[in-house]
Protein backbone atom coordinates (compact mmCIF):
# COMPACT_ATOMS: atom_id res chain seq x y z
CA UNK A 1 0.00 0.00 0.00
CA UNK A 2 1.34 3.42 -0.90
CA UNK A 3 2.14 6.46 1.19
CA UNK A 4 -0.84 8.24 -0.35
CA UNK A 5 -3.25 5.48 0.49
CA UNK A 6 -2.06 5.63 4.09
CA UNK A 7 -2.77 9.34 4.19
CA UNK A 8 -6.12 9.19 2.40
CA UNK A 9 -9.07 7.31 3.91
CA UNK A 10 -10.05 6.09 0.44
CA UNK A 11 -8.47 3.96 -2.24
CA UNK A 12 -10.77 5.52 -4.82
CA UNK A 13 -13.19 8.44 -4.77
CA UNK A 14 -15.58 9.41 -7.55
CA UNK A 15 -17.21 12.83 -7.30
CA UNK A 16 -19.85 13.69 -9.89
CA UNK A 17 -18.19 11.54 -12.52
CA UNK A 18 -19.79 11.19 -15.95
CA UNK A 19 -18.40 9.49 -19.00
CA UNK A 20 -19.20 9.20 -22.68
CA UNK A 21 -17.42 7.54 -25.59
CA UNK A 22 -16.36 9.96 -28.36
CA UNK A 23 -19.47 12.07 -28.82
CA UNK A 24 -21.96 9.33 -27.88
CA UNK A 25 -24.49 9.52 -25.06
CA UNK A 26 -23.30 9.43 -21.45
CA UNK A 27 -22.84 5.86 -20.31
CA UNK A 28 -22.22 6.93 -16.73
CA UNK A 29 -23.90 9.92 -15.11
CA UNK A 30 -23.03 11.78 -11.94
CA UNK A 31 -21.35 8.89 -10.15
CA UNK A 32 -20.41 9.37 -6.49
CA UNK A 33 -18.78 6.68 -4.42
CA UNK A 34 -15.68 5.87 -2.43
CA UNK A 35 -13.78 2.65 -1.75
CA UNK A 36 -12.12 2.27 1.63
CA UNK A 37 -8.94 0.22 1.96
CA UNK A 38 -9.65 -3.46 2.46
CA UNK A 39 -13.26 -3.26 1.29
CA UNK A 40 -14.96 -5.83 -0.96
CA UNK A 41 -17.71 -4.83 -3.39
CA UNK A 42 -19.68 -6.49 -6.10
CA UNK A 43 -20.46 -4.35 -9.11
CA UNK A 44 -23.83 -5.30 -10.51
CA UNK A 45 -26.21 -4.18 -13.22
CA UNK A 46 -27.70 -5.29 -16.52
CA UNK A 47 -25.48 -5.90 -19.53
CA UNK A 48 -24.59 -2.52 -21.01
CA UNK A 49 -25.27 -0.73 -17.72
CA UNK A 50 -21.69 0.61 -17.70
CA UNK A 51 -19.86 -1.82 -15.40
CA UNK A 52 -16.89 -2.23 -17.74
CA UNK A 53 -16.80 1.55 -18.33
CA UNK A 54 -16.74 2.22 -14.60
CA UNK A 55 -13.97 -0.32 -14.12
CA UNK A 56 -12.00 1.24 -16.99
CA UNK A 57 -12.17 4.59 -15.20
CA UNK A 58 -10.83 2.89 -12.09
CA UNK A 59 -7.82 1.42 -13.89
CA UNK A 60 -7.18 4.69 -15.77
CA UNK A 61 -7.93 3.35 -19.23
CA UNK A 62 -10.42 6.15 -19.85
CA UNK A 63 -10.90 9.56 -18.35
CA UNK A 64 -14.19 11.05 -17.21
CA UNK A 65 -15.93 13.67 -19.32
CA UNK A 66 -17.07 15.38 -16.12
CA UNK A 67 -16.32 15.14 -12.42
CA UNK A 68 -13.19 14.19 -10.54
CA UNK A 69 -11.58 10.87 -9.69
CA UNK A 70 -9.05 10.43 -6.91
CA UNK A 71 -7.05 7.24 -6.68
CA UNK A 72 -4.82 6.51 -3.72
CA UNK A 73 -5.42 10.06 -2.57
CA UNK A 74 -4.32 11.69 -5.84
CA UNK A 75 -6.53 13.52 -8.32
CA UNK A 76 -5.88 11.58 -11.53
CA UNK A 77 -6.43 14.55 -13.85
CA UNK A 78 -3.38 16.26 -12.35
CA UNK A 79 -1.05 13.27 -12.59
CA UNK A 80 1.89 12.97 -14.97
CA UNK A 81 2.08 9.95 -17.31
CA UNK A 82 4.76 8.45 -15.13
CA UNK A 83 2.68 8.91 -11.96
CA UNK A 84 -0.30 7.29 -13.68
CA UNK A 85 1.88 4.30 -14.58
CA UNK A 86 2.92 4.10 -10.94
CA UNK A 87 -0.75 4.05 -9.87
CA UNK A 88 -1.60 1.37 -12.44
CA UNK A 89 1.06 -0.84 -10.85
CA UNK A 90 -1.00 -0.86 -7.68
CA UNK A 91 -4.07 -2.08 -9.52
CA UNK A 92 -4.71 -5.64 -10.65
CA UNK A 93 -7.28 -6.16 -13.38
CA UNK A 94 -9.02 -9.37 -14.42
CA UNK A 95 -10.49 -8.73 -17.83
CA UNK A 96 -13.72 -10.26 -19.04
CA UNK A 97 -11.90 -11.62 -22.12
CA UNK A 98 -8.78 -12.54 -20.06
CA UNK A 99 -6.38 -10.71 -22.42
CA UNK A 100 -3.68 -13.30 -22.05
CA UNK A 101 -0.74 -12.95 -24.43
CA UNK A 102 -1.00 -15.91 -26.79
CA UNK A 103 2.74 -16.06 -27.51
CA UNK A 104 3.61 -16.36 -23.81
CA UNK A 105 3.11 -19.49 -21.74
CA UNK A 106 1.20 -19.49 -18.46
CA UNK A 107 4.34 -18.75 -16.45
CA UNK A 108 5.38 -15.75 -18.57
CA UNK A 109 1.84 -14.38 -18.65
CA UNK A 110 1.65 -14.42 -14.87
CA UNK A 111 5.20 -13.05 -14.54
CA UNK A 112 4.44 -10.05 -16.75
CA UNK A 113 3.42 -7.49 -14.05
CA UNK A 114 6.49 -8.38 -11.98
CA UNK A 115 8.80 -7.98 -14.97
CA UNK A 116 7.25 -4.60 -15.77
CA UNK A 117 8.06 -3.56 -12.21
CA UNK A 118 11.65 -4.72 -12.66
CA UNK A 119 11.58 -7.56 -10.11
CA UNK A 120 14.55 -9.92 -9.91
CA UNK A 121 14.17 -13.02 -12.09
CA UNK A 122 14.91 -15.32 -9.11
CA UNK A 123 12.06 -13.73 -7.10
CA UNK A 124 9.78 -13.89 -10.14
CA UNK A 125 10.44 -17.63 -10.55
CA UNK A 126 9.59 -18.30 -6.91
CA UNK A 127 6.50 -16.06 -6.72
CA UNK A 128 4.99 -17.14 -10.04
CA UNK A 129 5.44 -20.82 -9.23
CA UNK A 130 3.72 -20.31 -5.87
CA UNK A 131 0.90 -18.32 -7.49
CA UNK A 132 0.29 -20.94 -10.17
CA UNK A 133 0.16 -23.57 -7.46
CA UNK A 134 -2.32 -21.39 -5.55
CA UNK A 135 -4.67 -21.27 -8.54
CA UNK A 136 -4.14 -24.99 -9.15
CA UNK A 137 -2.23 -24.67 -12.42
CA UNK A 138 1.28 -25.69 -11.40
CA UNK A 139 1.26 -28.46 -14.02
CA UNK A 140 0.25 -26.08 -16.81
CA UNK A 141 3.13 -23.67 -16.21
CA UNK A 142 4.58 -24.15 -19.69
CA UNK A 143 1.24 -24.39 -21.47
CA UNK A 144 0.23 -21.66 -23.90
CA UNK A 145 -3.20 -20.05 -23.52
CA UNK A 146 -4.64 -21.74 -26.62
CA UNK A 147 -3.91 -25.12 -25.00
CA UNK A 148 -5.84 -24.23 -21.85
CA UNK A 149 -9.57 -24.41 -21.16
CA UNK A 150 -11.64 -21.25 -20.55
CA UNK A 151 -11.59 -21.85 -16.81
CA UNK A 152 -7.82 -22.38 -16.79
CA UNK A 153 -7.29 -19.21 -18.80
CA UNK A 154 -9.51 -17.40 -16.32
CA UNK A 155 -7.34 -18.58 -13.43
CA UNK A 156 -4.16 -17.52 -15.29
CA UNK A 157 -5.73 -14.08 -15.78
CA UNK A 158 -6.55 -13.91 -12.07
CA UNK A 159 -3.07 -15.07 -11.08
CA UNK A 160 -1.59 -12.36 -13.32
CA UNK A 161 -3.84 -9.72 -11.75
CA UNK A 162 -2.87 -10.56 -8.18
CA UNK A 163 0.78 -11.69 -8.52
CA UNK A 164 2.14 -8.26 -7.61
CA UNK A 165 -0.17 -7.99 -4.55
CA UNK A 166 -2.13 -4.98 -5.82
CA UNK A 167 -3.76 -2.57 -3.41
CA UNK A 168 -6.86 -2.58 -5.61
CA UNK A 169 -8.17 -5.60 -7.52
CA UNK A 170 -10.77 -5.08 -10.25
CA UNK A 171 -12.38 -8.13 -11.79
CA UNK A 172 -14.74 -7.89 -14.74
CA UNK A 173 -17.00 -10.95 -14.82
CA UNK A 174 -14.25 -13.22 -13.51
CA UNK A 175 -16.65 -16.12 -13.11
CA UNK A 176 -18.31 -15.79 -16.51
CA UNK A 177 -16.59 -18.81 -18.03
CA UNK A 178 -16.57 -21.24 -15.13
CA UNK A 179 -19.11 -23.43 -13.39
CA UNK A 180 -20.57 -22.51 -10.01
CA UNK A 181 -18.10 -24.58 -8.03
CA UNK A 182 -15.14 -22.98 -9.77
CA UNK A 183 -16.77 -19.56 -9.43
CA UNK A 184 -16.94 -20.00 -5.65
CA UNK A 185 -13.37 -21.21 -5.55
CA UNK A 186 -12.22 -18.12 -7.44
CA UNK A 187 -14.19 -15.89 -5.11
CA UNK A 188 -12.43 -17.51 -2.17
CA UNK A 189 -9.13 -16.58 -3.81
CA UNK A 190 -10.28 -12.97 -3.94
CA UNK A 191 -11.42 -13.18 -0.32
CA UNK A 192 -8.02 -14.44 0.74
CA UNK A 193 -6.41 -11.46 -0.97
CA UNK A 194 -8.98 -9.16 0.58
CA UNK A 195 -8.07 -10.50 4.03
CA UNK A 196 -4.48 -9.53 3.25
CA UNK A 197 -5.62 -5.93 2.73
CA UNK A 198 -6.43 -5.73 -0.99
CA UNK A 199 -9.50 -3.72 -1.90
CA UNK A 200 -11.62 -5.79 -4.27
CA UNK A 201 -14.31 -4.87 -6.79
CA UNK A 202 -15.90 -7.76 -8.70
CA UNK A 203 -18.29 -7.01 -11.56
CA UNK A 204 -20.66 -9.94 -11.91
CA UNK A 205 -24.08 -11.12 -13.03
CA UNK A 206 -23.89 -14.20 -10.84
CA UNK A 207 -26.81 -13.77 -8.38
CA UNK A 208 -25.79 -16.93 -6.55
CA UNK A 209 -22.39 -15.50 -5.73
CA UNK A 210 -23.80 -12.15 -4.70
CA UNK A 211 -26.18 -13.84 -2.28
CA UNK A 212 -23.60 -16.31 -0.97
CA UNK A 213 -20.92 -13.73 -0.24
CA UNK A 214 -23.14 -10.87 0.89
CA UNK A 215 -20.92 -7.89 0.15
CA UNK A 216 -22.12 -4.36 -0.61
CA UNK A 217 -22.99 -3.75 -4.24
CA UNK A 218 -22.18 -0.91 -6.58
CA UNK A 219 -25.31 -1.27 -8.67
CA UNK A 220 -25.53 0.44 -12.04
CA UNK A 221 -28.92 1.15 -13.58
CA UNK A 222 -29.94 3.82 -16.11
CA UNK A 223 -26.35 5.06 -16.16
CA UNK A 224 -26.50 5.94 -12.47
CA UNK A 225 -24.83 4.24 -9.53
CA UNK A 226 -26.71 3.06 -6.50
CA UNK A 227 -24.98 1.59 -3.50
CA UNK A 228 -26.72 -1.44 -2.06
CA UNK A 229 -25.46 -2.37 1.40
CA UNK A 230 -25.13 -6.02 2.39
CA UNK A 231 -28.40 -7.72 3.17
CA UNK A 232 -27.55 -8.68 6.72
CA UNK A 233 -25.11 -7.65 9.39
CA UNK A 234 -21.91 -6.33 7.97
CA UNK A 235 -19.86 -4.52 10.47
CA UNK A 236 -16.81 -3.26 8.67
CA UNK A 237 -16.19 0.42 8.03
CA UNK A 238 -17.18 0.10 4.39
CA UNK A 239 -20.68 -0.99 5.27
CA UNK A 240 -20.99 1.86 7.78
CA UNK A 241 -19.83 4.31 5.16
CA UNK A 242 -22.28 3.06 2.57
CA UNK A 243 -25.15 3.04 5.04
CA UNK A 244 -24.29 6.62 5.91
CA UNK A 245 -24.08 7.60 2.25
CA UNK A 246 -27.38 5.88 1.48
CA UNK A 247 -29.01 7.78 4.35
CA UNK A 248 -27.68 11.06 2.96
CA UNK A 249 -29.21 10.17 -0.39
Amino acid sequence: MTEQSKLSPFIAEFNGVSMRYSGGPEVLKDIHFALTPGSFHFMTGESGAGKTSLLSLLYLHHEPTRGRIRLFGQAVDTLSRSAKAQIRRQIGVVFQDFRLLEHLNAFDNVALPLRLCGEKESDIRKNVSEMLTWVGLEKQMKAYPNALSGGEQQRIAIARAVIHKPALLLADEPTGNVDDAMAKRLLYLFLELNKLGTTVVVATHNEGLIKSFNFPQLHLANNHLKIIPPAEKYSDMTAKLFKKEAKNG
Binding site: R81, I87, L116
Partner: protein
Amino acid sequence: MAKKSEFLFSKSSTRFFLPWMCALMVFIATLISAGGIVISNSLANWQRGVSASLTVQIPTYDKQGLPRGDAVTQDVEQTLTLLRTTPGIIGASPLNNAEMAELMSPWLGTDASITELPLPKLIDVTVDTSNKPDLEQLKANLNAAVPEAILDSHRIWLDDLINLSGGLLDLIAFVLLMLLATVAITVIYTTKSSLSIQRSIISLVHMMGAKDLYITLKYSVYSFKYAFWGSVTGFTLAIPVMLGLVVFLKSVSTFMLQASLSHTEWLALLSIPFGMAALAFCTTFYTVQRYLKKFL
Protein backbone atom coordinates in the same frame (compact mmCIF):
# COMPACT_ATOMS: atom_id res chain seq x y z
CA MET B 1 12.74 -20.69 -17.61
CA ALA B 2 13.88 -18.43 -20.46
CA LYS B 3 12.49 -14.93 -20.41
CA LYS B 4 10.41 -14.13 -23.46
CA SER B 5 9.49 -10.66 -24.62
CA GLU B 6 5.92 -9.55 -24.12
CA PHE B 7 6.08 -7.85 -27.51
CA LEU B 8 5.53 -9.99 -30.56
CA PHE B 9 8.39 -8.73 -32.69
CA SER B 10 8.48 -11.88 -34.81
CA LYS B 11 5.42 -10.55 -36.66
CA SER B 12 6.95 -7.14 -37.14
CA SER B 13 7.95 -5.95 -40.61
CA THR B 14 10.97 -4.33 -38.94
CA ARG B 15 12.58 -7.73 -38.58
CA PHE B 16 12.43 -8.55 -42.28
CA PHE B 17 12.63 -5.18 -43.92
CA LEU B 18 14.91 -3.02 -41.80
CA PRO B 19 18.16 -5.08 -42.03
CA TRP B 20 17.95 -5.34 -45.82
CA MET B 21 17.18 -1.69 -46.25
CA CYS B 22 19.98 -0.64 -43.93
CA ALA B 23 22.41 -2.99 -45.70
CA LEU B 24 21.60 -1.43 -49.06
CA MET B 25 21.66 2.14 -47.77
CA VAL B 26 24.96 1.69 -45.90
CA PHE B 27 26.47 -0.01 -48.96
CA ILE B 28 25.58 3.01 -51.12
CA ALA B 29 26.43 5.57 -48.42
CA THR B 30 29.86 4.01 -47.83
CA LEU B 31 30.75 4.01 -51.52
CA ILE B 32 29.65 7.56 -52.17
CA SER B 33 31.25 8.82 -48.95
CA ALA B 34 34.51 7.18 -49.98
CA GLY B 35 34.09 8.85 -53.39
CA GLY B 36 33.54 12.19 -51.67
CA ILE B 37 36.70 11.74 -49.58
CA VAL B 38 38.75 10.86 -52.69
CA ILE B 39 37.44 13.92 -54.56
CA SER B 40 38.01 16.18 -51.57
CA ASN B 41 41.56 14.89 -51.04
CA SER B 42 42.36 15.18 -54.74
CA LEU B 43 41.06 18.72 -54.80
CA ALA B 44 43.31 19.70 -51.90
CA ASN B 45 46.20 18.00 -53.65
CA TRP B 46 45.59 19.82 -56.92
CA GLN B 47 45.37 23.14 -55.10
CA ARG B 48 48.63 22.48 -53.31
CA GLY B 49 50.37 21.39 -56.52
CA VAL B 50 49.04 24.23 -58.61
CA SER B 51 49.83 26.95 -56.12
CA ALA B 52 53.44 25.69 -56.02
CA SER B 53 53.99 25.75 -59.77
CA LEU B 54 53.67 27.90 -62.87
CA THR B 55 54.18 27.11 -66.51
CA VAL B 56 55.56 29.42 -69.17
CA GLN B 57 54.78 28.58 -72.78
CA ILE B 58 57.04 29.69 -75.65
CA PRO B 59 55.25 29.19 -78.97
CA THR B 60 57.31 27.33 -81.60
CA TYR B 61 55.20 28.66 -84.48
CA ASP B 62 54.29 32.29 -85.19
CA LYS B 63 50.78 33.61 -85.77
CA GLN B 64 51.02 32.86 -89.48
CA GLY B 65 51.83 29.24 -88.67
CA LEU B 66 55.50 29.43 -89.69
CA PRO B 67 58.25 27.85 -87.52
CA ARG B 68 60.03 30.44 -85.37
CA GLY B 69 63.36 28.56 -85.54
CA ASP B 70 66.25 29.90 -83.38
CA ALA B 71 64.03 32.64 -81.89
CA VAL B 72 62.46 29.92 -79.72
CA THR B 73 65.80 29.00 -78.14
CA GLN B 74 66.58 32.69 -77.53
CA ASP B 75 63.16 33.26 -75.95
CA VAL B 76 63.61 30.21 -73.71
CA GLU B 77 67.03 31.47 -72.53
CA GLN B 78 65.73 34.98 -71.88
CA THR B 79 62.71 33.68 -70.05
CA LEU B 80 64.84 31.39 -67.86
CA THR B 81 67.16 34.30 -67.01
CA LEU B 82 64.19 36.46 -66.04
CA LEU B 83 62.53 33.72 -63.99
CA ARG B 84 65.70 32.75 -62.13
CA THR B 85 66.21 36.34 -61.01
CA THR B 86 62.61 36.87 -59.90
CA PRO B 87 62.12 36.76 -56.08
CA GLY B 88 59.81 33.94 -54.97
CA ILE B 89 60.81 31.58 -57.78
CA ILE B 90 63.04 28.78 -56.63
CA GLY B 91 63.44 26.90 -59.87
CA ALA B 92 62.76 27.06 -63.59
CA SER B 93 63.62 24.39 -66.14
CA PRO B 94 62.40 23.67 -69.68
CA LEU B 95 60.70 20.34 -70.29
CA ASN B 96 62.62 18.06 -72.63
CA ASN B 97 60.97 15.93 -75.30
CA ALA B 98 60.71 12.88 -73.04
CA GLU B 99 58.98 14.89 -70.31
CA MET B 100 56.64 16.46 -72.88
CA ALA B 101 55.79 13.01 -74.25
CA GLU B 102 54.98 11.76 -70.74
CA LEU B 103 52.85 14.83 -70.06
CA MET B 104 50.87 14.32 -73.25
CA SER B 105 50.58 10.55 -72.94
CA PRO B 106 47.05 10.54 -71.41
CA TRP B 107 45.78 12.22 -74.60
CA LEU B 108 48.24 11.09 -77.30
CA GLY B 109 49.34 7.71 -75.97
CA THR B 110 52.95 6.60 -75.46
CA ASP B 111 53.78 5.96 -79.10
CA ALA B 112 53.12 9.47 -80.49
CA SER B 113 56.07 11.47 -81.80
CA ILE B 114 55.61 14.87 -80.21
CA THR B 115 58.41 16.49 -82.23
CA GLU B 116 56.10 16.42 -85.26
CA LEU B 117 53.41 18.35 -83.43
CA PRO B 118 53.23 22.17 -83.15
CA LEU B 119 53.56 22.10 -79.39
CA PRO B 120 54.99 25.08 -77.51
CA LYS B 121 58.15 24.80 -75.42
CA LEU B 122 57.17 24.55 -71.78
CA ILE B 123 59.12 25.87 -68.82
CA ASP B 124 58.21 24.38 -65.48
CA VAL B 125 58.50 27.00 -62.74
CA THR B 126 58.66 26.10 -59.04
CA VAL B 127 57.31 28.73 -56.69
CA ASP B 128 58.31 29.32 -53.07
CA THR B 129 54.87 28.87 -51.45
CA SER B 130 55.96 30.82 -48.37
CA ASN B 131 57.09 33.77 -50.47
CA LYS B 132 55.00 33.76 -53.64
CA PRO B 133 56.03 36.05 -56.52
CA ASP B 134 53.78 38.88 -57.66
CA LEU B 135 52.17 37.21 -60.68
CA GLU B 136 50.92 40.44 -62.27
CA GLN B 137 54.40 41.99 -62.04
CA LEU B 138 55.98 38.80 -63.39
CA LYS B 139 53.52 38.77 -66.31
CA ALA B 140 54.39 42.40 -67.13
CA ASN B 141 58.14 41.76 -66.92
CA LEU B 142 57.83 38.67 -69.06
CA ASN B 143 55.73 40.50 -71.63
CA ALA B 144 58.38 43.24 -71.85
CA ALA B 145 61.31 40.82 -72.12
CA VAL B 146 59.72 38.05 -74.23
CA PRO B 147 56.48 39.28 -75.83
CA GLU B 148 55.71 35.81 -77.24
CA ALA B 149 55.86 34.09 -73.82
CA ILE B 150 52.61 33.11 -72.07
CA LEU B 151 52.51 32.72 -68.28
CA ASP B 152 50.04 30.06 -67.17
CA SER B 153 49.22 29.99 -63.45
CA HIS B 154 46.69 27.07 -64.04
CA ARG B 155 44.11 29.18 -62.20
CA ILE B 156 41.41 28.95 -64.87
CA TRP B 157 41.84 25.19 -65.15
CA LEU B 158 41.87 24.85 -61.37
CA ASP B 159 38.80 27.07 -60.91
CA ASP B 160 36.82 24.89 -63.31
CA LEU B 161 37.99 21.80 -61.49
CA ILE B 162 37.14 23.29 -58.10
CA ASN B 163 33.66 24.18 -59.35
CA LEU B 164 33.14 20.70 -60.74
CA SER B 165 34.44 19.00 -57.60
CA GLY B 166 32.43 21.31 -55.35
CA GLY B 167 29.31 20.46 -57.32
CA LEU B 168 30.09 16.75 -57.00
CA LEU B 169 30.63 17.08 -53.24
CA ASP B 170 27.30 18.93 -52.92
CA LEU B 171 25.62 16.19 -54.92
CA ILE B 172 27.16 13.53 -52.66
CA ALA B 173 25.97 15.40 -49.55
CA PHE B 174 22.48 15.64 -51.04
CA VAL B 175 22.37 11.93 -51.90
CA LEU B 176 23.56 11.07 -48.36
CA LEU B 177 20.82 13.25 -46.90
CA MET B 178 18.28 11.52 -49.14
CA LEU B 179 19.53 8.13 -47.96
CA LEU B 180 19.19 9.16 -44.32
CA ALA B 181 15.72 10.56 -44.96
CA THR B 182 14.72 7.32 -46.71
CA VAL B 183 15.91 5.27 -43.73
CA ALA B 184 14.15 7.56 -41.24
CA ILE B 185 10.86 7.48 -43.17
CA THR B 186 11.03 3.70 -43.61
CA VAL B 187 11.74 3.20 -39.90
CA ILE B 188 8.78 5.43 -39.02
CA TYR B 189 6.42 3.40 -41.19
CA THR B 190 7.69 -0.04 -40.18
CA THR B 191 7.51 1.02 -36.52
CA LYS B 192 3.99 2.37 -36.95
CA SER B 193 2.96 -0.86 -38.64
CA SER B 194 4.50 -2.89 -35.83
CA LEU B 195 2.82 -0.72 -33.19
CA SER B 196 -0.49 -1.12 -34.93
CA ILE B 197 -0.14 -4.93 -35.04
CA GLN B 198 0.77 -4.97 -31.35
CA ARG B 199 -1.74 -2.41 -30.17
CA SER B 200 -3.55 -4.85 -27.88
CA ILE B 201 -0.27 -5.94 -26.26
CA ILE B 202 0.84 -2.33 -25.78
CA SER B 203 -2.54 -1.45 -24.34
CA LEU B 204 -2.29 -4.36 -21.90
CA VAL B 205 1.23 -3.64 -20.64
CA HIS B 206 0.34 0.05 -20.44
CA MET B 207 -2.63 -0.82 -18.22
CA MET B 208 -0.34 -2.93 -16.07
CA GLY B 209 1.80 0.11 -15.39
CA ALA B 210 4.54 -0.12 -18.01
CA LYS B 211 6.10 3.31 -18.36
CA ASP B 212 6.45 4.96 -21.77
CA LEU B 213 10.23 4.67 -21.55
CA TYR B 214 10.03 0.91 -20.98
CA ILE B 215 7.91 0.33 -24.09
CA THR B 216 9.88 2.85 -26.15
CA LEU B 217 13.22 1.31 -25.27
CA LYS B 218 12.00 -2.19 -26.12
CA TYR B 219 11.10 -1.02 -29.62
CA SER B 220 14.13 1.21 -30.09
CA VAL B 221 16.64 -1.42 -29.01
CA TYR B 222 14.94 -3.92 -31.31
CA SER B 223 15.21 -1.50 -34.26
CA PHE B 224 18.82 -0.71 -33.39
CA LYS B 225 19.73 -4.40 -33.31
CA TYR B 226 18.30 -5.17 -36.74
CA ALA B 227 19.49 -1.89 -38.27
CA PHE B 228 22.98 -2.49 -36.90
CA TRP B 229 23.36 -5.98 -38.32
CA GLY B 230 21.99 -4.85 -41.66
CA SER B 231 24.35 -1.87 -41.65
CA VAL B 232 27.38 -3.99 -40.77
CA THR B 233 26.48 -6.34 -43.63
CA GLY B 234 26.18 -3.41 -46.06
CA PHE B 235 29.52 -1.99 -44.90
CA THR B 236 31.25 -5.35 -45.16
CA LEU B 237 29.98 -5.75 -48.72
CA ALA B 238 31.11 -2.21 -49.60
CA ILE B 239 34.74 -2.79 -48.52
CA PRO B 240 35.80 -5.14 -51.37
CA VAL B 241 33.96 -2.97 -53.89
CA MET B 242 35.74 0.10 -52.53
CA LEU B 243 39.16 -1.59 -52.63
CA GLY B 244 38.45 -2.72 -56.20
CA LEU B 245 37.59 0.85 -57.18
CA VAL B 246 40.78 2.17 -55.54
CA VAL B 247 42.88 -0.31 -57.53
CA PHE B 248 41.01 0.59 -60.71
CA LEU B 249 41.38 4.36 -60.18
CA LYS B 250 45.06 4.02 -59.40
CA SER B 251 45.60 2.09 -62.60
CA VAL B 252 43.80 4.54 -64.87
CA SER B 253 44.12 7.99 -63.40
CA THR B 254 46.96 8.49 -61.00
CA PHE B 255 47.53 11.99 -62.32
CA MET B 256 43.99 13.09 -61.46
CA LEU B 257 42.70 11.39 -58.29
CA GLN B 258 44.30 10.61 -55.00
CA ALA B 259 42.67 7.21 -54.64
CA SER B 260 43.75 6.25 -51.14
CA LEU B 261 42.27 6.74 -47.68
CA SER B 262 44.00 7.55 -44.40
CA HIS B 263 43.28 5.71 -41.13
CA THR B 264 41.11 8.61 -39.96
CA GLU B 265 39.12 8.45 -43.19
CA TRP B 266 38.62 4.71 -42.78
CA LEU B 267 37.40 5.36 -39.24
CA ALA B 268 35.02 8.01 -40.57
CA LEU B 269 33.63 5.45 -43.03
CA LEU B 270 33.35 2.91 -40.22
CA SER B 271 31.08 5.32 -38.35
CA ILE B 272 28.46 5.00 -41.14
CA PRO B 273 26.93 1.66 -39.95
CA PHE B 274 26.90 2.91 -36.35
CA GLY B 275 25.32 6.18 -37.47
CA MET B 276 22.67 4.33 -39.46
CA ALA B 277 21.80 2.10 -36.48
CA ALA B 278 21.71 5.19 -34.22
CA LEU B 279 19.35 6.87 -36.69
CA ALA B 280 17.05 3.81 -36.59
CA PHE B 281 17.15 3.89 -32.77
CA CYS B 282 16.32 7.60 -32.52
CA THR B 283 13.60 7.47 -35.18
CA THR B 284 11.94 4.49 -33.50
CA PHE B 285 12.22 6.19 -30.11
CA TYR B 286 10.50 9.32 -31.42
CA THR B 287 7.78 7.33 -33.26
CA VAL B 288 6.91 5.15 -30.26
CA GLN B 289 6.88 8.11 -27.88
CA ARG B 290 4.41 9.89 -30.13
CA TYR B 291 2.26 6.76 -30.53
CA LEU B 292 2.05 6.21 -26.77
CA LYS B 293 0.46 9.63 -26.33
CA LYS B 294 -2.71 7.95 -27.66
CA PHE B 295 -2.91 6.06 -24.40
CA LEU B 296 -3.81 7.91 -21.21
